[in-house]
Amino acid sequence: MPSARFPIPQGTLDMLILQILSLEPAHGYGIAQRIEQISKSVVQVNQGSLYPALHRLEQRGWLKADWKESETGREAKFYSLTRSGHKQLRSEKDSWVRLTGAVQLIFDEGAAQ
């Protein structure tokens, strides 16, 4: 019986981070919470890999970061998408749609038999 909560599949964390940030800037903790909320707690963020991922994306120039006051009144590091980050998100979404579509086709073929 499958578990109710999934760890994020390898390689998709970057895409999810970009997607969340395309809505509005957020800090690391906020991003993790947002992913769990939106996916109704089905997708679980491994917090150990969240920060390396954020720094990697920042290093590549897809994200930029600013220290801003958070909702609790403390300073937090807020990430937001850069122009090239937006572009990256679009292309990753595209390939994701193509991949899931293809996987679906293979499943459909199996179901038809």
Binding site: H27, G28, Y29, G48, H55, T72, K77
Partner: protein, 859 residues
């Protein structure tokens, strides 16, 4: 790039990361407490979720800096520590590399200054040099790329291709500021010279077009900055001062910018004089406006949007028209139809000349590149040496490396460590090399053939040189380290751990290959050195064809002091008599042109011996006084020497030849001339005429044949013809055979000269031995440097071989011990090692290949 920047702001980045993580932890703990967990439990959960703060930081740090950069810094620290632990190894490696890098850098410095360096003027890359390719039918004064002054004026009108065109010729003038005159290097230039080069004045003004209009009308000079400083102590009121150039009063109008040293690296002019003053600057030179007199180099500056090829094609119609026009000039009738045809087939060549025009560049670029290749080979040897040493050390570090591999280090990582070691060593060597380079450059400059070169060449280390040394060191480091690094990557961990003390045979094969390559390189160097030395010693043994010991030559230029005609002959006679009467002088004679200076007066001759024919190549000519051959010790093999009757009223080149009192014109030719133009026949009594024009009258009788002596240089043996020196074809180069020391001879010559005219400067004074040394400077440089490179190469490969053998012996210590214990004698053990050194069968083949490679490369 970003990542390298990160290296410098690491502290701030880490602070930020800590704050960011702390924020996360605090929020998470608060949230968990809100959901009902007790505080200690919540904290434990958060720590678990984040999975160890240290590891997380490490991971993020890797992203910032990238792994290799971080590893590199660690490697470097490790390298420094491990290298400092073995000082003898380090010293050997660093010294090898320093020698290689230092030698290469020193030669590069010279090549850079002589061959590659552009002139310190505006946009040197757009400067072009004009050259006449084909037959110019002109009289020549000077060497390389010469054309007439009127052509320069024509080219100045080609404004659609050039921003400007200038011409220049170098000469020596008698320069005086009132006191004793001094022979000074001068450059005769067109009025456009400074403006086209884009040189600015340091003081006053430079020459302009206005100074270059009517011949003889612009008595002005510009001084070079160094000359102004040295000769006038940098006097601020120099502009407007009167000076004497060959007794002609001229006015100093300005001083050129300090960085500008003329356009020839080898010849640094002290004064610039307008070309229209050429008759005053070169006594007897009245043919400035003659199109059949070539004496200047012409250079131009291409327009911004015009390419070299476009300009060349574009100029051809004008050039052809000019050729055509020239043939209709009256003085053209003296040339034959064949000569006219050759003349009309000429083309105008343009070459890029960002380095200006330099005789030094012309003469030296090939020898310099040859030596550069030799130093590069030396550097390769040093590289191989260091590679060999590293391999030896690699086996010593075998256990360390195996342990690291066993602990999980990747092969690449170990290889990188070894590479870092060698790059670090190479930089240490490079640093030492750069320190040594200026000393080497100074030594090299001393070898250069031209005296004045020393004025303009320097031994500073500049940024270009540093960059070169840096790149060479980097390359060296990689080359030296790559073999051991690859070797480290190839070993299997399993076998590496199981072996004890020994190394796999692969390493030994590699080391032997390295030694073989080293010996090959060394052989090439040594054999090349041997060849250069043999060439030099061959030339020294051959000599110039006469005995140079106790022979002095000196020169005066009476024309520069205003002497001419009878007054000049009287002066020369007075000096000749003085020399004859001096007790320290055995014999003396005069020649029109200096021997062994690289140049010669050359022209074709028409020979009448039964039939009339023209020499198929130019004959070297000189005018000499009676007794010249006897003074030199050159034998007259047939006929007679000149006598006093021959030496009368010789009229200048190309004109008809002199008639002596008895109505007889005389000429002496050398053995090579007889061999080429007379076969075995007797040349005495045959007649010759100077020049090849149809109207040349062969009316000079060959009265003697002299053995071959060197004229331009010791290397060459050419056909020569000698005419008697007279008043017009005057000679002021004295050849003197003395008794006693050169110093005492010099003192008496000095006294004789100042007795004749105290204001007459001596233009040069040297023994013929010195003269030969100077004329063989390039050979000497090649021989001396290639021998020292050969010695260094031997030394380096000796070190390399020693390293390999000591390693092999260490490796076989156990085996040798067992052999000795089993009764092997000391002698047989030594034999065992020596045999290994000389090589087993496989190795012997390698050596043969080495020999063949070495010998092949030297042929």
């Amino acid at each position: 790039m970003n990542r390298i920047l990160n290296w410098f702001r690491l502290r701030r980045l880490e602070g930020d990361l800590d704050r960011e993580l702390q924020y996360h932890i605090d929020r998470r703990v608060t949230d968990l407490i809100h959901s009902g967990l007790p505080e200690p439990e919540a904290k434990r959960r958060v720590a678990l979720e984040l999975g160890g703060a240290t590891q997380l930081r490490e991971e993020v740090r890797d992203i910032w800096l990238s792994r290799w950069l971080r590893d590199f810094v660690h490697d470097l620290r490790f390298s420094v520590r491990s290298i400092l632990r073995s000082p003898s190894f380090t010293a050997t490696a660093v010294l090898s590399l320093a020698l290689g890098i230092g030698a290469t850098t020193a030669l590069y410095s010279l090549i850079d200054q002589i061959v590659l360096r552009a002139l310190p003027v505006d946009h040197p890359e757009r400067l072009v040099l004009f050259d006449w390719s084909g037959e110019q039918l002109a009289e020549t004064f000077g060497t390389d790329n010469l054309m007439s002054y009127p052509i320069c004026r024509d080219l100045q009108q080609q404004k659609q291709f050039f921003d400007g065109v200038f011409c220049r010729a170098e000469t020596t003038v008698n320069f005086s500021t009132g006191g004793e005159p001094r022979l000074t290097a001068a450059e005769l230039v067109s009025g456009t010279y400074f403006s086209v080069l884009g040189v600015s004045p340091a003081l006053g003004r430079l020459l302009t077009m206005d100074d270059d209009q009517v011949p003889g009308s612009s008595p002005v000079v510009v001084l070079s900055y160094d000359f102004w400083k040295k000769q006038f102590g940098g006097a601020p009121d120099i502009v407007g001062r009167k000076v004497l150039v060959n007794q002609h009063p001229m006015t100093v109008v300005g001083v050129a910018a300090p960085t500008f040293h003329g356009i020839d690296v080898g010849e640094v002019p002290s004064v610039w004089i307008p070309a229209v003053m050429s008759a005053q600057s070169i006594p007897g030179f009245e043919t400035m406006l003659d199109r059949r007199t070539r004496w200047m180099q012409i250079l131009g500056r291409l327009k911004q949007n015009v390419s070299l090829a476009e300009a060349k094609t574009g100029l051809q119609p004008w050039f052809n028209a000019m050729l055509d026009e020239d043939t209709r000039r009256t003085d053209f009738s003296r040339f034959s139809a064949e000569q006219r045809r050759q003349f009309l087939a000429s083309t105008l060549d343009l070459t890029a000349a960002p380095e200006g025009h330099s005789v030094l560049l012309h003469d030296l670029s090939r020898p310099l590149w040859v030596l550069f290749v030799a130093t590069a080979m030396l550097l390769a040897l040093a590289c191989l040496n260091v590679a060999g040493l590293f391999l030896a050390r690699g086996s010593a570090r075998h256990r360390e490396i195996s342990t690291r591999l066993a602990l999980g280090a990747s092969r690449g990582r170990i290889g990188r460590q070894l590479l870092t070691d060698s790059v670090f060593l190479a930089f240490a060597g490079g640093l030492l090399g750069v320190v040594m380079a200026p000393i080497a450059v100074r030594a090299l400059i001393a070898f250069l053939p031209v005296d004045s070169a020393a004025n303009n060449l320097h031994a500073h280390v500049d940024t270009r040189l540093l960059l070169f040394a840096f790149l060479v060191s980097l390359l060296t480091g990689f080359l030296a380290g790559s073999a051991p690094a690859l070797q480290a990557g190839r070993k299997s961990l399993d076998s590496a751990l199981r072996e004890r003390g020994g190394t796999p045979s692969g390493s030994l094969a590699l080391r032997r290959a390295i030694v073989t390559a080293q010996i090959a390189f060394t052989l090439i160097q040594v054999i090349a050195a041997g060849l250069f030395v043999r060439t030099l010693s061959g030339l020294l043994v051959k000599g110039p064809g006469f005995d140079t010991s106790s022979l002095i030559s000196f020169g005066i230029k009476p024309a520069l002091n205003g002497y001419s005609g009878d007054v000049e002959s009287r002066l020369i006679r007075r000096i000749t008599e003085g020399l004859r009467d001096s007790s320290s002088i055995q014999a003396s004679a005069i020649a029109h042109d200096q021997l062994l200076l690289g140049g010669a007066w050359s022209n074709s001759l028409t020979i009448q011996a039964g039939e009339r024919y023209i020499t198929d190549r130019e004959v070297q000519m000189n005018a000499v006084s009676p007794g010249f051959f006897a003074t030199l010790g050159a034998r007259i093999v047939a006929g007679r020497d000149f006598n006093e009757h021959d030496a009368l009223n010789v009229i200048a080149a190309n004109q008809s030849l002199p008639v002596s009192q008895t109505g007889q014109r005389a000429v002496i030719v050398n053995v090579a001339f007889v061999k080429r133009y007379f076969g075995g026949r007797n040349p005495l009594g045959a007649r010759v005429a100077m020049g090849s024009a149809p109207d040349a009258k062969p009316d000079s009788e060959i009265v003697g044949v002299v053995e071959n002596i060197s004229y331009r240089n010791v290397r060459e043996q050419w056909e020569q013809a000698y005419f008697p020196v007279g008043t017009e074809l005057s000679g002021s180069n004295f050849y003197v055979r003395f008794r006693g020391t050169p110093e005492s001879a010099f003192r008496s010559i000095r006294a004789i000269l100042s007795n004749a005219d105290p204001t007459l400067p001596i233009s040069y004074f040297r023994t013929l031995d010195e003269q030969i040394d100077r004329s063989l400077n390039t050979e000497r440089m090649l021989a001396a440097l290639s021998s020292s490179f050969g010695t260094l190469a031997l030394l380096l490969s000796l070190v390399g071989l020693y390293g390999v053998m000591s390693f092999v012996v260490t490796q076989r210590t156990r085996e040798i011990g067992i052999r000795l214990a089993l009764g092997a004698t000391r002698l047989s053990t030594i034999w065992l090692v020596l045999r290994d050194c000389a090589g087993d069968d496989r190795r012997r083949n390698g050596d043969c290949a080495t020999w063949r490679l070495g010998v092949g490369a030297s042929c």
